[in-house]
C-alpha cells in the first residue's frame, strides 16, 4: 500500500509539474491572469507531494518491505535503523528520487517567498524550473521507478554496500544534492530573465541568496565527502581526482564564479550576460555530473547500476536542457544591453579576473574528466589523475589566489594601487617572509611550497578589509566574505602541509612489537575478534604515543560484513591540534606478524576545517543579504505608506 501511495504521489507531482510548465508558459501572453494564478500554488503543492513520495520510500526502507524490489536489492533486516533509512538514497532510484524531491522543494520555496522580481519573470522562472523537473520525473517514472514491486516478496534483502554503511551516508548525499540541485534555481532564474528580457541588478539580487544557499550546501557536501573518503577507504588520501569527485567540484567552481559575478551585477549593474551564462553553466555542470555518475559510463562506488538505457535517457535530458538554454542564450544575449563600465584596477576588475580563472579551472577539470571517455571512442583506455590536475590546475589557481588576497581591498568602479599600498606591502611582505622561511627550513616540492606561502598571504589578506573601519559597522556580508576567504587559506594550508610533510610507515609487526611514524611511537598490543550488528571484525589494539607523551589507544579494524559478504578496512584516527595519526591494520603476514600501515599527517584536519569555514562565510553572507533585503523592503513599504498618507 505504501509503495503504491508513493508511486501515485510521484505521478501526481509530475502532473503538477506539467501544469506548472504549461500555465507558466501560457501566462507569458497578455490576458492570462487565471492561468498565471495557478503557477505558484502548483509549484508549492508539487514540492510537498514529491517530499511525501520520498517519505514513503523512507517508510518502506524503515519497515524493510521486501516485496519492493529496491528494498530487497539494497537493504537487509539486520541493518541498523540509521543505515536502513540512509540506505533509501544509497542506490540509483532512491538517489534520483532525492534529486527530484530537492528540485521540487526548491521550486516550492521560490514560489512561496520570492516576490522581488516582476511577476512575469517569476512565472517564466517557475515554468523553467518545472520544465527541468518534468524531464527528471519522466526519467524516474519510466526508467528508474523506486516503488516497483517484486512478483513475490524476497525472503531477505541483499544488503547495502558496507562502504556505504557509515554515518557519512547520512550527511554527504543530502547536503551534496541540496547544493547540486539547488543550483537548478539559478538556472531557472537565468532562463526566466532571458525569456522576459529582465537582466537587471534586481534579478541578481533576487538570485544571489538562492545561489548562496545552494553553494553553502555544496561546499559542506564536498567537504563531508572528502573526509568520508579519507577515513573510509583506508588509503590515507583525501582527494583522488576521481570523476565523481570532479563531478561535484565542477558545479562548485561554476557556482563560486556565479556568486561573485552576481555580486558585480547586483552592486554595479555590470557583467550582465556573463552572470546569465554562469547561471546556465552551474546547473548544467550538476546535470553533467549526474550523467557521469549515474549513466554507468564510469565505474565507482557512486555508480550503482550499469544500465545503458538510463545513460541514454539522461544524455537526452542533458542535450535538451543544456542545449536549449544555450540556444536561448545565443538568441537573446545580443539583446541584453551593456552594463556599466569599470576600470581594470577596481573591485569589478579583480572579480572578472577571478571569474575567468575559475572558468578556466572548470574547463581544465572538465576536459580532464571527459578525456578518458573521448579516447575510449578510439579504443584507447587511459586514466587521468594528479599528474595532470595538480600542475595544470595550479597555473590558474596561483594567480587567482594572489588576486583574491588583494581584490576585496579595491573599491568599486575605479581605484588605484597607490591607495592600498600599505596593505599590499603587508600582504606581500608576509608572503615573501613565508617563502624565505619555508624554503630555508625545509626542502619541499614546488606546489606544496606555493600552497603554504599563498595560504599565509591569503590568510592575512582576507582580514585586511577590516583595516581603518569600525568593526561594529562592518556589514555581516563583508564578514562572510572575509571568513570564506580565510577558510580557503586554511584549507589550502592543510592541503599543502599534508602533501609536503606526511610521513608513512608500512611494517609487519608482531604482538608486543612497535613501529615509528613521524613523532609517534606505536605498540601493537593485541589483535582480537569483535562484532557489530551485521559484521564481525579483527580489531587491532595500538598504543600510540606522541613524542614520548602518555599513550592513547587507537583501534583499526578489518571488518567482515555478511550481507552482502564483503571485507572492509576501518581506519583508526588519533587527532591532535597539529595533525592526525592514521592507522590501518591489514592481514596477518603468516608468521604471527600483522601488517600495519601508519601515516602522520601534519595539519591535515585544516582541509576540512577550512571547508567548514568557507561554508560558514556563506551562511554569514546569506544572513547579511537577507537582512539587508528585509530592511530595504521595510523602508520601501514605510515610504509607500507615507506617500499614501500625504496624498490623502
Amino acid at each position: 500500500m505504501i509503495a503504491e501511495l508513493g508511486l501515485a504521489a510521484l505521478w501526481l507531482a509530475a502532473a503538477l509539474a506539467v501544469l506548472q510548465l504549461v500555465a507558466g508558459a501560457l501566462s507569458q501572453r497578455e490576458g492570462a491572469e487565471e492561468l498565471a494564478a495557478l503557477v505558484r500554488p502548483a509549484a508549492i503543492v508539487q514540492g510537498f507531494i514529491a517530499a511525501f513520495a520520498f517519505l514513503m520510500l523512507l517508510v518502506l526502507f524503515a519497515q524493510t518491505d521486501l516485496s519492493v524490489k529496491l528494498v530487497a536489492m539494497n537493504s537487509h533486516s539486520d541493518k541498523p535503523m540509521i543505515f536502513k533509512l540512509s540506505g533509501a538514497f544509497g542506490n540509483h532510484e532512491g538517489s534520483m528520487l532525492l534529486w527530484i524531491t530537492v528540485m521540487a522543494l526548491a521550486g516550492s520555496l521560490i514560489a512561496a517567498v520570492e516576490r522581488r522580481l516582476p511577476e512575469k519573470t517569476m512565472l517564466a522562472t517557475l515554468a523553467a524550473q518545472a520544465f527541468v523537473g518534468v524531464g527528471f520525473y519522466a526519467f524516474l517514472l519510466l526508467s528508474s521507478n523506486p516503488f516497483e514491486r517484486l512478483p513475490e516478496p524476497a525472503l531477505e534483502g541483499m544488503g547495502l554496500n558496507p562502504l556505504l554503511q557509515d554515518i557519512g551516508l547520512v550527511f554527504h548525499p543530502p547536503t551534496l544534492y541540496i547544493g547540486y540541485v539547488g543550483l537548478s534555481v539559478a538556472f531557472s532564474f537565468a532562463v526566466g530573465a532571458l525569456l522576459t528580457r529582465q537582466v537587471t541588478p534586481d534579478f541578481a539580487r533576487a538570485m544571489r541568496p538562492w545561489v548562496l544557499g545552494a553553494w553553502i550546501f555544496l561546499t559542506l557536501g564536498i567537504t563531508a565527502g572528502s573526509y568520508w573518503a579519507y577515513y573510509e577507504l583506508g588509503w590515507g588520501g583525501w582527494w583522488f581526482w576521481d570523476p565523481v569527485e570532479n563531478a561535484s567540484l565542477m558545479p562548485w567552481l561554476a557556482a563560486t564564479a556565479l556568486l561573485h559575478s552576481a555580486s558585480v551585477l547586483a552592486s554595479r549593474d555590470a557583467l550582465r550576460t556573463w552572470t546569465i551564462m554562469l547561471g546556465v553553466v552551474a546547473f548544467s555542470m550538476s546535470m553533467v555530473g549526474t550523467f557521469l555518475v549515474r549513466s554507468g559510463i564510469l565505474t565507482s562506488v557512486h555508480a550503482f547500476a550499469v544500465d545503458p538505457e538510463r545513460g541514454t535517457f539522461i544524455l537526452g535530458l542533458l542535450v535538451i536542457y543544456i542545449g536549449g538554454a544555450l540556444l536561448l542564450f545565443g538568441l537573446r544575449a545580443g539583446t541584453v544591453s551593456e552594463g556599466t563600465r569599470f576600470s581594470v584596477t577596481s573591485r569589478e576588475g579583480a572579480l572578472v579576473f577571478n571569474n575567468v580563472m575559475l572558468t578556466a579551472l572548470l574547463g581544465i577539470v572538465l576536459l580532464g574528466t571527459l578525456y578518458p571517455l573521448f579516447t575510449e571512442a578510439f579504443d584507447v583506455r587511459v586514466s587521468v589523475g594528479p599528474p595532470y590536475f595538480n600542475p595544470v590546475g595550479a597555473i590558474f589557481v596561483v594567480p587567482m589566489l594572489m588576486v583574491m588576497a588583494v581584490g576585496p581591498l579595491l573599491r568599486w568602479r575605479k581605484d588605484s594601487i597607490s591607495r592600498i599600498r600599505l596593505p599590499l606591502l603587508i600582504i606581500g611582505g608576509a608572503t615573501l617572509a613565508a617563502l624565505v622561511l619555508i624554503s630555508l627550513l625545509t626542502s619541499i616540492a614546488i606546489l606544496p611550497l606555493l600552497g603554504l606561502v599563498l595560504a599565509v598571504g591569503l590568510g592575512i589578506g582576507s582580514f585586511m578589509p577590516i583595516r581603518g573601519r569600525k568593526l561594529r559597522l562592518l556589514p555581516i556580508a563583508t564578514w562572510g566574505m572575509m571568513v570564506a576567504h580565510f577558510g580557503i587559506a586554511v584549507a589550502l594550508f592543510g592541503m599543502a602541509s599534508e602533501s609536503a610533510f606526511s610521513e608513512e610507515t608500512l611494517a609487519a609487526v608482531a604482538i608486543g612489537g612497535s613501529a615509528e611514524v613521524g613523532p609517534w611511537n606505536i605498540v601493537l598490543t593485541e589483535v582480537s575478534p569483535t562484532a557489530g550488528p551485521n559484521w564481525t571484525a579483527l580489531e587491532g589494539r595500538l598504543l600510540a604515543s606522541y613524542d614520548g607523551a602518555a599513550a592513547i589507544e587507537v583501534n583499526p579494524q578489518s571488518r567482515n560484513f555478511w550481507a552482502p559478504p564483503q571485507e572492509t578496512t576501518e581506519s583508526a584516527l588519533a587527532t591532535r591540534w597539529n595533525g592526525q595519526l592514521y592507522a590501518v591494520v591489514g592481514r596477518e603476514a603468516g608468521d604471527g606478524r600483522w601488517q600495519l600501515r601508519l601515516w602522520w599527517k601534519p595539519f591535515v584536519t585544516f582541509i576540512w576545517y577550512g571547508g567548514i569555514l568557507v561554508a560558514l562565510g556563506g551562511v554569514l553572507a546569506l544572513i547579511g543579504r537577507v537582512m539587508a533585503d528585509l530592511k530595504r523592503r521595510a523602508i520601501k513599504s514605510r515610504g509607500a505608506i507615507r506617500r499614501a498618507e500625504t496624498a490623502a
Partner: protein
C-alpha cells in the same frame, strides 16, 4: 582603460580576454593530457609493446591462481597478472585491498621496472560484489565470462 572607452568596447575587450584565456587553458589541457594521462595495458599488450620503464601506466588482468606470495618483510607482495596470453610479474608494498583474491580481476597502478616487473603503487580490486573495474572488459571473452560468473555468484 581610459574613461573615453564606450561600454560596448569594454564588453568586447572583456570577451576577447576571456576567450583567449579559455582557449589557452584548453590548449594547455590538451597538451598536458597527451603527456600525463596514464595508459591502460593488459598483459598481452605489455608483453608485445611494453611502456617506457618508469612511465606511469595501469595494468589490468586476472591474479593468477597460486602466484601470490608474501616477501620476508611481511608487507611486500609478489604475484602475477595474466590474461590468458601473457603473464606479468607484479610487486606491491602495502595492504592488499579488501577484495583482492587470487583468480579474480585487478587493476594495478604503477610502472614497469628494468627487470620487467610491474611495481604497483596502488591496487584496485572489485569495489563490491556488483563492481568490476571497467578496464577488465578489455580482457578476453572467456575471462570476462569468468568475472561475470564470479560476481553474480557472490551476489546471490
Amino acid at each position: 582603460m581610459t574613461t573615453g572607452l564606450k561600454a560596448k568596447h569594454q564588453r568586447l575587450i572583456l570577451i576577447v580576454i576571456a576567450v583567449v584565456v579559455l582557449i589557452g587553458a584548453a590548449l594547455l589541457a590538451a597538451y598536458a593530457l597527451r603527456n600525463q594521462a596514464s595508459y591502460f595495458y593488459v598483459p598481452a599488450q605489455m608483453a608485445a609493446d611494453p611502456p617506457t620503464v618508469g612511465q606511469a601506466v595501469r595494468l589490468g588482468g586476472m591474479v593468477q591462481e597460486g602466484s601470490l606470495e608474501t616477501l620476508a618483510d611481511g608487507v611486500t607482495f609478489a604475484f602475477t597478472v595474466g590474461d590468458g596470453e601473457a603473464i606479468v610479474p607484479v610487486r606491491f608494498a602495502g595492504i592488499l585491498p579488501d577484495l583482492f583474491i587470487e583468480g579474480s580481476g585487478v587493476v594495478a597502478e604503477g610502472r614497469l621496472n628494468n627487470g620487467g616487473t610491474f611495481v604497483a603503487d596502488n591496487l584496485l580490486a572489485k569495489h563490491d560484489e556488483n563492481y568490476v573495474p571497467r578496464e577488465l572488459q578489455e580482457m578476453t571473452e572467456h575471462q570476462a565470462r569468468e568475472v561475470v560468473a564470479e560476481t553474480t555468484d557472490t551476489g546471490a
